[in-house]
Point group: D2
Chain length 342, copies 4
C-alpha cells in the first residue's frame, strides 16, 4: 500500500528517536520545567531572533490552538478565520467550547487578506455583536497555499490598524518556509505574529507543537491556562528533547524541503498527465481532481483522503508527502494513477 494519506502516519525521524532513547533514563523535573525544554526554548528564541518571546511546548495542534485562543481572548471576543481554517471545521468546535465565536470568512485559496479583515471588522459593531479580536491564519494553509513575507507584513499592519491579534497556526510551518517561491523564515513570524506555532507532529516528531508568544501582554499566566486545559505534559521534557533534536543543524527545514520536493515531483507528473488540480499548491499537499472511477481504483493500492466530491463524476483527492516519502513511491503513485486513468 502506497501511503499518501497524511504527514503523520509513522513515528519519529531517527534523530528524534535517538535523542529520546539516549535521554530515556535521565531524571528531571516534570511539566516542562526541565533543562531540555529550556534549551529547546532558547534555540527557538535564537532561531526567531526573538529574545523576549515566551516559548511553550504542547502535544498537539487542536490543543495548542484551543489553549492559546482561550488564553488570549476575553469572553465577548471572536476569531476571524478563513472558512477553510482548521479551527472552523476540523476541530469539533473546540474554540466555541471555550466560549468564542469563530467567524468564517470567505477566503479564496484559504488565505486571509487585509481587505477581508477590514470588511469583517466593519461588519461587527456595537454591543449586540461579538468583537473580532484575533485573526487566525495557517501557514501552509489547509489547501497547501503559502503566505509570503509581504502578505504577513500586510496582515500585521491591518491587524494593528484594527486592534486584532495575528495568530499563525504553523502545523506545517516547515513546509511553508521551504516551499517553492516562499520567502519567509523563523524571524518573519516572530516579527509579524503576536503568536505562532512551529509544528513538530507533521515534520518528524512523535508529537509536539511549539508555541511562540512574542506579544508581551499575552505571556503572563499562560502555563496556568495550559494546565487548566490539560495541556501540560507530565514528562514535558519529551517535547524539549524532540524539538532540540529536530531543530539541530537545520534538520527541521531539510525534512520539510524534502516533503515539498516530493510533492513537486508528484505535481509535475500529474500536470504531465493533464490532471487538473484544485489549487496550485507549492507545498506538501497536492489536490488533484480525478474521475470517480479512477479514485475508486486507486483506493485498492493507495492510502489517501477524499477532499471533496465535485459534480460531473469527479472527486478532488488529497495526497500528502512527508519527510520519509521516497522518489520511488511518488513515481509508483504516478504510474498507478496513469493506469487507473487509462
Amino acid at each position: 500500500m502506497l501511503y499518501f494519506r497524511n504527514d503523520y502516519g509513522n513515528g519519529a525521524h531517527p534523530a528524534v528517536l535517538e535523542a529520546l532513547t539516549r535521554t530515556n533514563m535521565d531524571l528531571t523535573a516534570g511539566y516542562g520545567l526541565d533543562p531540555y525544554c529550556e534549551a529547546a526554548a532558547e534555540t527557538i528564541r535564537d532561531l526567531c531572533a526573538a529574545p523576549g518571546a515566551a516559548v511553550h511546548f504542547l502535544v498537539g495542534g487542536t490543543q495548542v490552538n484551543k489553549t492559546a485562543i482561550a488564553a488570549f481572548l476575553r469572553p465577548y471576543e471572536a476569531v476571524l478565520s478563513a472558512a477553510s481554517g482548521h479551527i472552523c471545521v476540523h476541530e469539533t468546535g473546540s474554540i466555541e467550547q471555550d466560549g468564542h465565536k469563530v467567524i468564517h470568512c470567505p477566503a479564496p485559496g484559504g488565505k486571509l487578506t487585509p481587505e477581508i479583515l477590514r470588511s469583517m471588522c466593519a461588519a461587527h459593531s456595537g454591543e449586540h455583536m461579538v468583537v473580532p479580536r484575533l485573526a487566525y491564519i495557517s501557514n501552509t494553509t489547509e489547501v497547501g497555499t503559502v503566505y509570503r513575507r509581504e502578505e504577513l507584513l500586510a496582515l500585521r499592519a491591518a491587524c494593528d490598524e484594527l486592534g486584532l491579534l495575528l495568530y499563525c497556526d504553523g502545523a506545517r510551518l516547515g513546509s511553508a518556509m521551504t516551499a517553492a517561491g516562499a520567502d519567509t523564515s523563523f524571524p518573519d513570524y516572530a516579527e509579524t505574529c503576536h503568536a505562532f506555532t512551529i509544528g513538530g507532529t507533521k515534520n518528524g516528531l512523535l508529537f509536539g507543537e511549539a508555541l511562540v508568544i512574542t506579544e508581551p501582554s499575552l505571556q503572563p499566566y499562560f502555563r496556568h491556562c495550559m494546565k487548566q486545559q490539560g495541556a501540560i505534559l507530565a514528562k514535558g521534557r519529551l517535547l524539549g528533547v524532540q524539538f532540540s533534536a529536530i531543530l539541530k543543524d537545520g534538520l527541521y527545514l531539510d525534512l520539510a524541503r524534502h516533503a515539498n520536493a516530493m510533492a513537486a515531483r508528484l505535481t509535475a507528473g500529474l500536470k504531465d498527465m493533464g490532471v487538473p488540480l484544485l489549487v496550485d499548491s507549492p507545498s506538501n499537499q497536492v489536490f488533484p481532481i480525478l474521475p470517480d472511477q479512477t479514485v475508486e481504483a486507486l483506493e485498492k493500492s493507495v492510502a489517501f483522503e477524499v477532499q471533496e466530491k465535485l459534480d460531473g463524476g469527479r472527486t478532488c483527492v488529497r495526497f500528502v508527502t512527508a519527510w520519509h516519502t521516497a522518489e520511488a513511491e511518488v513515481d509508483e503513485l504516478l504510474k498507478t494513477i496513469k493506469e487507473a486513468l487509462a
Copy 2:
C-alpha cells in the same frame, strides 16, 4: 542527587521504548484508529472481563479527567470529590472551566464513603443548587491510601441509590492493585465503576492514560468530546503501542509491585528511626513528618516535594518511589535522613 520527587521523572520502561522503536516506521491511520490501539483496547477489555467496555487512550491525567467529566455531565450537574482530590486542587480549575462545580468533601484519608455521598446529596436539593452527579475517587488516593474491593462495592451501591456515576482516577491504579493489603484487580473496577482510568504515565510509559467506560449510556460520541478538548493524539497509535507493551505478561503490575516494595522498605526504615508518618500508606507515596532543619538538610542531596508545613517546626514531605527505584537508593535515602536527623 537521589530522586524521590515523583514517579514520572524519567522516560519509559525499556520494553515500552523498544516497542516504540520497533514500530516507528510503520504507517498507520491516525487519531487512534489503528491496529495497535485496537489491540491494546482488546487486551484491556480482556483484562477487565468487560467485553462491552469502550476504551480510549488519552495523553495525560488532567486531560482524561477533564474530558470524561465534561462528556458525562449536563450543565447543572456537579462532581463530589474528597477535598484532597487531584481535580479539587491541582488541576487549575479544569473541571470548572468546562462549567461544572466540584464539591469538596471533607474526607479523612482522602477517601469518599457512602456516608459522605449521602450527606452531600442530602445537602443539595431544589433548582437553586447544583445536582451532584459524579463521585470522583482516586485509587491510590492523593495521600497514598487504597480502596479495597468492599469499599468500591459499597460506593457503587451508594451511587446507584443516589443516582450518581462512580468515576475512578487510576493514575496510580497499578500501585493500588499491588499494595500490601490490597485486594482489587482490573475486573473489580469494571464491575464497580461507570468509568475509570488505567494510568500509564506514572508506571512505565512515556505518557498515556487508558479510559475504560463500562456504562453504555456514556459511550456514544465520546471521541467527539475528545477531539473538542484537543485530546485526540494525531499519532494515536503511540498510545496503543505503549499500552500493549506494558500490559504484556503482567509487566504493568510487576512495575507497580516493585515501586510499592521500595516504598515499604522506606516506610519500615523510617519507622525504625521513629519518624512519624502523615498517613499509613501501603502504596508508592510516603509522607514522613520531619523537623524543618532536617528537611532543609535533605534538599541538598535528595529531590522530593514538600507536602505541607506543619506547626511546631515540622514539615510533612513526600517521597515517591517508581518502577526504577533501586533498593540501594532507598537505603541511601534512609541513611541520609538518619544523618540529617542526628
Copy 3:
C-alpha cells in the same frame, strides 16, 4: 418624532399594566412558583392543545434562546441557523459562550428549508466536526418573512429524519400567526416544534417570553438550567400576571394583527410611491430601500434603524410597527418620506 424604530419602545398594553397594578400587593411564592404563573402556563397549554408541555417564563429573548439551547445540547452539538438568525449576529455570541457552535446557513428570505438542513448535516460527519443537533428558526424571521404550516411540517419531518431538534424563536410569534397569508396558530407550533417561544416583549408586555417545551426528554431539570443562567426572576409572578392578561380574550393576536395592518398600510403606501423593498414582508417589519439623502432627511423627524448600506447611494432601512401604532402615524410617515424623496 415619529417612532418606527422597533416594537419595544414603550411600556405595556394598558390591560397588562392594569393587571400588574391590581395584583401589586399580593404576597406569593417567588421564582415563578406562584398561582399566576401556573394559571398562565395552563392557558398556554390549552391554547396550544399541548397538555404535556412544560411552560417556563423568562424575561428576554436572548436569555431564553441561550438558556434553552444550553440546556438542550451536549457539548459537541451545534445549532443550524439561517445566517440572518438573531442568534448568529445579534446576541454577542451568547450561544458560543455556552460552548456551542452556531452554523450559519445561507438562507434566502431568512428561512431554513429541509434542503438546507439536509445539506448542512451531510457536510458534517465524523468526530472532527461538530454534530448539528438543533435547527433554530424564527417566526416571523429577522427580515419579516413568515413560515406557513406546510413549511413547519416539512421542517419537522426533515428534523426527524436527521435527528435534529426544531426550535422556533417566537419573539414575534403573534405577528407570524396574523400576517397576511399566514395559516398557523398555537397548536401548529406545539405539533411541529420540540420547543418554541411565545414572545411578549414585542407585543404588549413590559417584558417576557414564554418557552413551551413539548418534547418530554427536554423537560427535566430545565429550571436548574434557568437558575444557573440567572434566568429565574425573583418576582416571577410578574411574568404569569402579564401573560395571563395578554392572552385573555385573544388580545395577544389582536395586538399583533393591528401591528401587521399598520405595516401593510405602510407597505402599500411605499409601493404606491414606487419605493423598492428588500423583501416582501407580510408582517410588522418593513424594509424599504431609499436614496441615502432621503434617509438622512428622514432621520430628523423619524426614529428608525438602518438595516444595511447598499451600493449606488442607497440604504435599506427598517420601519417597525407595533400594537400602539396609529393609522395617522403611518400616514404621517408616508407623507414625510414622499417629501424627502421629492
Copy 4:
C-alpha cells in the same frame, strides 16, 4: 397567612409603580440607552460621590453576580467567598458555568476577613492551582450580619495587598446601611469596592439591581458581556424609571430602615420569650431556633423558610421583614409563636 417568607413576595412600592405607569407610553431607545437610565445612573454616581463610575442596570441578583464575575476574570482566576455566600450554594453553579472556581472559605458569621483572604491566597500558588482574584462579599450577608466601614476598609487594603478585586453583592444594601450599629453609606462602597450592586428587588422594585463599577479597568466592554449573558433588558428604561423613583428623597433608605425596624421589633419580642437566635442579626432577616413542633404549628398560619435542621429536635427558621411589613403583623407573629411554644 402572615408573610415573613422573604422580602420579594409582592410587587413594587407605590411610588415605583406610579413612575412606571406615568411613563408607560413614552417611546424611547431600547436596551438601557434611554434618558431614564442615564438619569438614574447619574443619581447613583452622585449618591456615591463617584463621578467616574460606570453604572449598569440588570434584572436580577444571580444575573448580575454572574455577568460581573464572568466579565472581570480571566479563565484561570477564581473567586473567594464565604461558604455561606449566595454564589456558593444558591445559584446552581452559575459562576462555575462560566468557567470559574468558587473557593468556599470557612467564615464565621458569613463574613470574610483580611486573615481569611491572606490564608486562602497563601494556599494557592503555582500553575497547578487557580489564582484567587476576586473576593465576593454580601452586605448584608446571607445570615443578616453587616460589614462596618472599618471592615470594608480593611478588606480593601488586604485586597490591594493580595492583588484581589473586592466585589460586594448588595442585594440588601439598603438594609446594610440602615441596620442598627451600621455606619456605611453609598460613598463607602464606591471607595472600598472595585464593583458593587445596589439591590432593588428586595427593597421596593419590581426587579432590578444596579451594578456600580468604580475600577476603570473593569469598565470597557461591559455591555458586550451583559448582552452575551442575556442580561440586557429590551425595555431597559424600566430599570432606570424604577431606580430613579426609589432613590428619590431617600425613599430607598427609608424602606430599608422600616424593614430593619420591624425585624428589630421581632427580635426583641423573641428575646423576651427567651427564644435563642442563630446569629445576632441587626438587619431584616431573623433566625430564631425553635422546637420542631413549634415550627410545624407555625406553618399553618405563617409563611417562612426553614434555614437549617438542628439536633435536639430544634430547627432554625428564617423570618424576613420588608418595606411593607406592618407592626401589627410582627405583633401577630410574636403572638402566634408564643402560643405555639406554650
